[in-house]
């Protein structure tokens, strides 16, 4: 057991920066010890680096946002989890590629995945190996970065059930693998979690978690926390019951499973549960806030991002929309859907919960990324979790208590008027509430939200959060949904269109301290790719037409762009290669809900195709085609 008591308070330019004490728990296996030690070391390095990094002068007066230190160790050049670190910053400390030289960026190598569906995953890089997981059929490739051209080291084919394609709501995507202790963990579309030896590609174990006949799939990227693989299901559009489960990383046995609906015992709400708001308190709200039995098919899946604060020993995850979409079929608050849980990773017991969208009206899953940042709020530094929410507000919550510290709109909103910080209630606009058998027009944001799953990035250098998001509005008509197991359970017809201004996508740089946009860049198509920011003060993201772009992280000025073979909906990463140089990698392959019109060859004459998304991006068919290709970029001098 290591206790790194580096509780040093470092003074720098009149500003306090703290490296918090990090409590590394008992390691259960030898490999864990190594990792723990490594992590501990990284924390130390991070603290040191944090002190060394010159802070921008303009932030001298105000307090500045920093990542939760315990959750964001120093960059070792690897990229071991999709969010880069437990704080989900997607920030790389590599600075070889910077604003000065980025215009010289070139392709270093490519790799075709052989799959033509939406590639939402980031590659992972551990040591000298890059790991890529494809959309269904969820093949896993290991590329040897030490060799020229990064040849295939091994590949692994989990052979998931083909029928699972029929119950994947929004393309057969996969949002990435996870690495820990020499193991890679992937989820397959047909509901399995599989552990593979990172070195050889040998299957270690596989656990069937979801049942496609109930509509359950798994598309999320697992997160490994303290020897447990955290996995949640997808299928909120199929009347599944959402859950998050922890599997033993070594054996694949289920350690705990927390449902998002139902009795407290199933939700793992016990004596530790201390929510901030009264509306989250009460016995068995997961049952009583639903019509009878509706919670058994009530959604609340956990298909998005999980963050982890080692200091508080809490994981944070969201729960998705309640099912069906038609809200009139499920009167009540529909606990515990559409909210954020803080749980103890060891037991799964809930610590707090905040329901972002009680009685969700618009399919606003609350599963987006959760950035763990320490922020000055009203003069005091607070440990917060920051979430650009689907409903168009950027929420800042106290991550210890679940109190909402602020909620500011970052996109066009007309369906709600704001969040009451005293009660945590979101004030909805009655005129925009869906009504059975009536088309409610011009609702902003849409069902996929102002921003969907595609994660933001945070740069401690600029103090800005880079949010790739959308600018769409929709017409919505509720209809009665029929539950037939294995078929969608939706009850809404939606058609979407460009929001105010006519552009459909936007990348906003948000200053969480000033609670305002620093700058933003408009994009023609909705942004469905993740963002990456680096210490070279660069911001990388991709567009659905296939452009991969580098922007000046401070000004938003576009410095470089490259046209990839297909639209980009993946998550770019940056790593330090075995040769010591910095690389930027991204998967190109259009798809997902936004790209369904291309990958499904949908007919956009039907405004409700792809739940309304197809028509909104009908011209995408003329801009890009299907593909599945890894692009890795580097500066030219290396060659």
């Amino acid at each position: 057991m290591y206790t790194v008591g580096a509780s040093a308070a470092l003074e720098h330019q009149g500003r306090r920066r703290r490296c918090f004490g990090l409590n590394i728990p008992d390691a259960e296996a030898g490999a864990d010890v190594v990792i723990s030690r490594l992590t501990g070391a990284m924390v130390l390095v991070a603290c040191a680096l944090g002190a060394a990094v010159p802070a921008p002068a303009q932030d001298a007066s105000a307090g500045k946002a920093i990542p939760a230190a315990a959750a964001s160790p120093a960059d070792d050049g690897n990229w071991v989890m999709p969010g880069k670190d437990y704080a989900s910053t997607r920030y790389s400390a590599q600075d070889e590629i910077n604003t000065g030289n980025v215009r010289d960026l070139q392709v270093a190598f490519t790799f075709s995945t052989g799959v033509e569906r939406g590639h939402e995953a980031p590659p992972l890089v551990v040591g000298g190996t890059m790991y890529i997981v494809t959309p269904y059929p969820n093949r896993l490739f290991a590329l040897d970065l030490t060799k020229p051209g990064a040849p295939l080291k091994w590949s692994f084919d989990p052979k998931p059930a083909a029928s699972a394609q029929g119950v994947a709501c929004c393309d057969y995507v996969n949002r990435g693998p996870a690495f820990a202790d020499g193991r890679l963990f992937i989820n397959t579309l047909d509901g399995q979690t599989i552990a593979v030896a990172a070195e050889t590609g040998r299957e270690l174990w596989r656990t069937q978690l979801g049942d496609i006949n109930k509509g359950e799939t798994i598309t999320m990227a697992p997160l490994v926390v303290k020897g447990k693989v955290l996995v949640g299901n997808s299928g909120g559009e199929f009347g599944v019951r959402g859950w998050l489960t922890a599997l033993d990383a070594g054996t694949g046995t289920i350690a705990w499973k927390a449902y998002s609906t139902g009795p407290d015992a199933d939700v793992l709400i016990g004596p530790d549960y201390k929510p901030f708001y009264d509306k989250e308190k009460g016995k068995d709200l997961g049952v009583t806030s639903w019509p009878p039995d509706a919670w058994t098919i009530g959604g609340g899946t956990v298909w998005g991002w999980i963050s982890y604060d080692p200091e508080l020993n809490l994981i944070y995850h969201g729960t998705a929309n309640p099912g069906p979409w038609n809200p009139e079929q499920r009167p009540g608050d529909n606990k515990w859907t559409g909210g954020i849980f803080a749980r103890n990773p060891d037991t799964g017991q809930a610590r707090w919960f905040y329901q972002v969208v009680p009685h969700d009206l618009y399919d606003h899953d609350a599963i987006n990324e959760l950035l763990l940042l320490d922020l000055p709020v009203n003069g005091a530094m607070r440990k917060t979790v920051v979430r650009p929410e689907r409903n168009g507000y950027l929420y800042v919550l106290d991550r210890a208590t679940g109190e909402v510290l602020s909620a500011d709109p970052y996109a066009a909103i007309n369906s709600s008027t704001g969040v009451d910080l005293k009660t945590g209630e979101l004030a909805m606009v009655e005129a925009k509430a869906p009504k059975l058998g009536k088309v409610v027009r011009d609702i902003c944001p849409t069902a996929p939200g102002a921003k969907d799953w595609n994660p933001s990035a945070f740069s401690p250098r600029t103090g800005l959060i880079y949010i790739p998001h959308m600018n769409l509005c929709m017409d919505w008509q509720s209809s009665e949904a029929n539950y037939i197991a294995g078929t969608p359970y939706v009850g809404a017809e939606v058609r979407m269109f460009a929001g105010p201004g006519g552009h459909r996508g936007e990348l906003s740089a948000w200053d969480p301290v000033k609670r305002a946009k620093a700058w933003s860049v408009k994009e023609d198509f909705p942004l469905w790719s993740g963002a990456l920011t680096t210490a070279g003060d660069l911001l990388f993201y991709g567009t659905m037409e296939g452009w991969f772009k580098a922007l000046d992280a401070r000004t938003g000025e576009e410095l470089w762009r490259f046209k990839t073979g297909s639209g980009i909906i993946g998550q770019p990463i940056a790593y330090r290669g075995p040769d010591g140089h910095e690389y930027v990698a991204v998967l190109s392959g259009v798809g997902g809900w936004a790209g369904a019109v291309v990958v499904g060859n949908l007919d956009p004459r039907d405004a409700t195709a792809a739940k309304g998304f197809a028509t909104a991006v009908a011209d995408l068919k003329t801009k890009t085609t299907k593909g599945g290709m890894l692009y890795v970029f580097a500066l030219p001098q290396r060659r």
Partner: protein, 188 residues
């Protein structure tokens, strides 16, 4: 009154011509049983060993009948066809209003696809949907791409206006791949 009768008769004849095919208007809630649609009745490709087999009989009693197609449209919604295929534009499942038929576009092919399911995600509804309703749904699916007579195809629904209604859909001419070798291009 012979001349008025004559005029009445000629007018009537005109009307008869205009409303020809009144099979369209029958409302037989039981639905007529349609012959075998098992594996023997359909092909999924356009390649035949030897001489091409003659096509099976056409089932106008379903796809020429406004009531059956309309029932099919209702069932299409009730049985969640529309949640995968949208209003024909496709979503999880492929679009049904275009000119491509992955597993064949005849009424029998569609009937078989609904009953048997298809490997890449189409669930099997065998035993779940009674025979006559499957025919009705299949007939409606054909109306989505204008394969059924215009006068029998549904008009707009009392709901969100997603697309031109079936009776105004231009008839899509299925391409050479139909009745459909498994042309998996872009489809499940």
């Amino acid at each position: 009154m012979s001349s008025p009768c004559r005029s009445a008769v000629s007018l009537a004849a005109l009307a008869v011509l205009t409303v020809a095919a009144c099979d369209r208007e029958e409302r037989e809630p039981r639905g007529a049983p349609v012959g075998d649609s098992g594996p023997a009745a359909i092909t999924q490709g356009t390649l035949y060993a030897g001489q091409p087999s003659p096509p099976g009989p056409s089932h106008r009693e379903y796809e020429g009948n406004a009531y059956h197609i309309s029932q099919g449209k209702q069932l299409y919604v009730w049985f969640n066809c529309g949640t995968c295929h949208a209003n024909g534009g496709g979503d999880i499942g492929p679009p049904l209003m275009d000119d491509q038929w992955i597993y064949g576009g005849t009424l029998e092919n569609i009937h078989a696809t609904i009953l048997q399911g298809r490997p890449n995600g189409m669930p099997s509804f065998r035993g779940k949907i009674p025979e006559q309703q499957v025919w009705e749904i299949a007939a409606y699916v054909r109306s989505l791409s204008g394969q059924t007579p215009k006068a029998a195809s549904p008009g707009r629904s009392d709901s969100l206006n997603a697309k031109p209604d079936e009776q105004r859909m231009p008839r899509e001419e299925p391409k050479g791949s139909s009745p459909g070798g498994p042309n998996l291009e872009g489809r499940q």
